[in-house]
């Protein structure tokens, strides 16, 4: 009996790898396992190797495993491509007609199975995925009977005939495996799940759902991997709430349309990835200058330039902080999990209105696209806070044709706001420097006052958990710092270090601007060595830490990965041990 298993299915894009993984995962979810799935894509639409890596566990997991226990291979390429990841003793369930063979050098068990033949027998060759699921479950020691309800549910809409043939296919996979490879593999037998079915989502979905729950009613966007999911979810759902998703001609139109909608008073967003965000740079400056609320989501992918669009990276951080013509107030939030992305999306919408400025919600491809089980999303935690927006203001008569003071200087730098279109509430805004009534103004004193108003208004920002701190020790050998999707892998690495009596605290930075220096200072002070773990080549968070916490600068070591693949726990563990050796 084991507590977790890493299962992978590989084949050609377009031949059902996605659905194989989905049925497998749905089944296991209903049995109460925690799941974490990550896909590998080829840069083509049909054909090319793809695989889906699903980790199954009796406890929550948020990282891909170091090694694969079971590989389902529909072609030889999948075996060759994934072989290096297989653990010694792993099982390879391969379609037998491809005459599968194993590369040399590792003790792995090959089980050729007539997946296609069995599927054809059951009704349709495409059901080979169902056969593979049946065989895989058998390996895990899970009887295919437990899955029948899932199959019924999934195919219910397609009629009884389809349901039944799928049930037959499922069963035949189990039967064939047991018949051809009767040997028991206790190292693959999964301890039972808790029977609780959980949400199974990708971070892009939790983000999109958070936006909807947070009152977003307008989105304008231009398609781009890996952010399109957000647009595709909201374009379906917004009309249900009277809202609109506009696919624009480009990202500049997307962001400026969202600024327009926000200015008029709707919670409006746009979402893209690095190349699109680059194009939005100028307009984000406009939102900052006109003090217009705006939420922009950046689902980071591998750059530079078009780079590797379906690969993981965290390399937009400094660009998101500093890109703008001139200096504006800007909030940058980086959720540290798919679950957090839900709540942070809502908070982003709130902060944008409270502080009347752009908010960048920075996620990454792994967080956005990894499919995972989640604890329930809590309706009670959904808040709508609109700050100084007065929807029904009592306005004195506007007897002179002078605009209202949209940029009134106040103690906290935030001006009262009401929406355009209200009697006696005529006002004007401009991207030029302006006075309190929003007219272009270049006088020195006014300029300074407006500039300070804008930049210092974030001083009153209170962000609930700017750093997700997991502090086990008052002082420790190590402080491991990361951001976005690396939380899971860092945490697993930390357990391995602790197992070797290396004490380590963890901190995932979630608020990147304004930088949570005060929160971080004691943490860094309490560690002998600080390792900053990032999916980029220049150590961007490490640079930021160095800038903001110079007193701890010498302790900071940067651990980076930039090949497009997410960190595995073992890689972090090994990297840190190297650091420790280098310094001891």
């Amino acid at each position: 009996m084991v507590q977790q298993i890493a299962w992978k299915v590989g084949g050609q894009q377009g031949e059902g790898i996605e659905s194989t993984g989905e049925i497998f995962a749905k089944t296991l979810n209903r049995l109460g396992y925690h799941l974490y799935g990550y896909r590998h894509f080829s840069s083509r639409i049909k054909g090319g190797h793809t695989n889906n890596n699903i980790r199954i566990s009796t406890t929550p997991v948020q990282a891909i495993a170091d090694q694969v226990d079971i590989l389902v291979a529909f072609d030889q390429e999948s075996i060759d491509f994934c072989f290096h990841e297989l653990r010694p003793g792993a099982m390879v369930l391969a379609e037998s007609t491809i005459q599968p063979h194993l590369p040399p050098g590792k003790d792995v068990i090959l089980c050729p199975l007539p997946l296609i033949a069995l599927a054809t027998e059951a009704g349709r060759a495409q059901m080979k995925n169902m056969v593979a699921v049946g065989a895989s479950l058998a390996l895990l020691g899970i009887s295919s009977e437990l899955c029948q309800d899932v199959v019924r549910e999934i195919f219910a809409a397609k009629g009884d005939a389809i349901v039944n043939s799928n049930l037959v296919a499922l069963q035949s996979g189990e039967t064939a495996l047991r018949a051809l490879f009767p040997e028991q593999h206790p190292d693959l037998h999964l301890a039972p799940g808790d029977g609780k079915k959980r949400l199974f989502m990708i971070g892009n979905e939790t983000t999109a759902l958070g936006l909807l729950a947070g009152g977003c009613r307008f989105m304008s966007a231009y398609p781009i991997t890996p952010a399109s999911d957000i647009m595709e979810y909201l374009t379906k759902k917004l009309p249900q709430f009277g809202g609109v998703m506009v696919q624009t001609e480009d990202e500049i139109a997307a962001v400026t349309m969202a600024i327009g909608a926000n200015h008029a008073g709707v919670r409006a967003i746009t979402a893209s990835s690095g190349p699109g965000l680059a194009l939005m740079t100028e307009a984000i400056g406009l939102a900052g200058m006109t003090e217009t609320p705006l939420v922009v989501i950046d689902v980071q992918r591998s750059g530079p330039s078009t780079g590797m669009p379906t690969k993981e990276e965290q390399a937009d951080l400094l660009a998101m902080l500093y890109a703008s013509p001139g200096e504006i107030p800007k909030i940058v939030i980086a959720p540290d999990s798919a679950e957090a992305a839900f709540y942070d999306s809502i908070e982003a919408l709130n902060l944008a209105e409270e502080f009347q400025c752009p908010v960048i919600l920075l996620t990454d491809l792994q967080l956005g696209m990894a499919q995972q089980t989640l604890p329930d999303l809590d309706y009670q935690r959904i808040q709508i806070r609109r700050g100084k927006l007065d929807l029904h203001p009592q306005l004195p008569e506007q007897s002179e044709p002078v605009p209202c003071k949209r940029f009134l200087l106040t103690d906290d730098g935030i001006s009262p706001r009401f929406l355009p279109g209200i009697k006696n509430g005529i006002f004007h805004v401009t991207g030029l420097e302006h006075d309190e009534i929003g007219r272009p103004a270049e006088g020195s004193a006014n300029r300074q006052a407006q500039m300070e108003k804008r930049l210092y208004k974030l001083a009153s920002l209170h962000f609930a958990e700017p750093v997700r701190i997991d502090q086990r020790h008052a002082t420790s050998d190590l402080l491991l710092i990361g951001w976005n999707a690396t939380a899971g892998a860092i945490n697993e690495a930390r357990e391995r270090l602790e197992a070797d009596n290396i004490t380590a605290n963890c901190a995932q930075v979630r608020l990147l601007h304004p930088f949570p220096t005060a929160t971080l200072t004691p943490l860094l002070a309490a560690a002998r060595q600080v390792v900053v773990i990032e999916q980029n080549a220049t150590g961007q968070l490490a640079q930021l830490l160095q800038m903001n916490l110079p007193a701890s600068a010498e302790k900071i070591v940067s651990l980076r990965k930039y090949d497009g693949n997410p960190f595995k726990p073992g890689e972090i563990d090994a990297g840190i041990r190297e650091v420790l050796h280098g310094h001891s």
Binding site: T248, A254, P401
Partner: protein, 288 residues
């Protein structure tokens, strides 16, 4: 009811004396008054350029954005609040150079709003470089040896982009301009009005006198039918676009708002932002 005066804000525009934009300003004020709406019901979204300062010289709501982006800003505002009467304004550089893509797509999207271009065939604010509508041979700061690209035919482009209301006017002929802006505001869809608005400082070729000599009123063309796209195009070709009046209007085609699936009949800004708990549960139930 509001009068043109109610749209004045007594600011002295920073335009050069004689600039064509003055005529556009007063025409907008008159047309706004003629529309029967009040000052607070308008939203004027302006580009960057001499022309872009317009939003600051009208007593209505105004948004003076960034160069070339008046249209997407304006479309966002209209979709957010369908009760606002949204008018975008800008220059020929703003709309046909840096903003050309937005202009085409706004025309085809057909959101119910109005776009007025102050076309002076030059970059005024940056002190006299060629615009996409400058004539061949025109010597400007950026073309000391003369423009060598043919000017874009703005009006034909608009028709090809699927425009439902295309008009051209001359800032020195305010009555026609007022009538066209009023009609544009009334039009159920995107109305585009190109106004020849001379730059007296940097364009000494396309002057008031030049336009007076060359512009032909469509009213003077017998049997001109503005609902006939083919006739519109052929007429533009015949007159090298130098016409004024309503060139084309499609009264049949529905606006974007009318076609939008599920779009709120009341202004979206008034929508309740909270999801009912049951709805939230339904949304969650899709993931499992």
């Amino acid at each position: 009811m509001a009068t043109a005066k109610d749209f004045q804000n007594h600011l002295k525009p920073n335009w050069c004396p004689g600039c064509g934009d003055f005529g556009v300003q007063t025409a907008i004020q008159r047309a706004f008054a003629a529309s029967g709406l009040e000052a607070h019901e308008f939203m004027v979204v302006a580009g960057i350029g001499c022309s872009g300062r317009m939003s600051g010289y009208l007593h209505t709501n105004g948004f003076h954005g960034i160069h070339g982006r008046a249209l997407p800003l304006a479309q966002g505002m209209k979709l957010a609040n369908r009760a606002l009467t949204v008018v975008a304004v800008g220059g020929d550089g703003d709309g046909f150079a840096i903003g050309a893509g937005h202009t085409l797509h706004a025309l085809r999207r057909n959101i119910d709003m109005t776009y007025i271009v102050m076309d002076n065939q030059i970059y005024g604010l940056t002190k006299g470089q060629a615009s996409p509508h400058s004539g061949v041979g025109f010597m400007t700061k950026s073309t000391p040896y003369g423009v060598i690209e043919s000017p874009l035919s703005i009006l034909q482009l608009a028709l090809a982009a699927g425009a439902t209301f295309v008009a051209q006017a001359f800032s020195k002929n305010p009555d026609e301009l007022v009538a066209l802006i009023t009609a544009g505001i009334r039009h159920q869809g995107f109305s585009f009005i190109n106004v020849m608005s001379p730059c007296v400082t940097y364009n000494h070729f396309n002057t008031y006198a030049w336009f007076t000599e060359h512009l032909v009123s469509l009213a003077s063309i017998e049997g001109y039918d503005a609902t006939n796209k083919k006739q519109a195009l052929n007429t533009l070709l015949d007159h090298h676009d130098l016409v004024t009046g309503l060139i084309y209007q499609d009264r049949e085609k529905k606006s974007y708002q009318e076609l939008l699936h599920g779009y709120s009949a009341t202004p979206l800004v008034e929508a309740d932002l909270r999801l009912p708990q049951a709805t939230f549960a339904e949304l969650l139930a899709e993931f499992g």
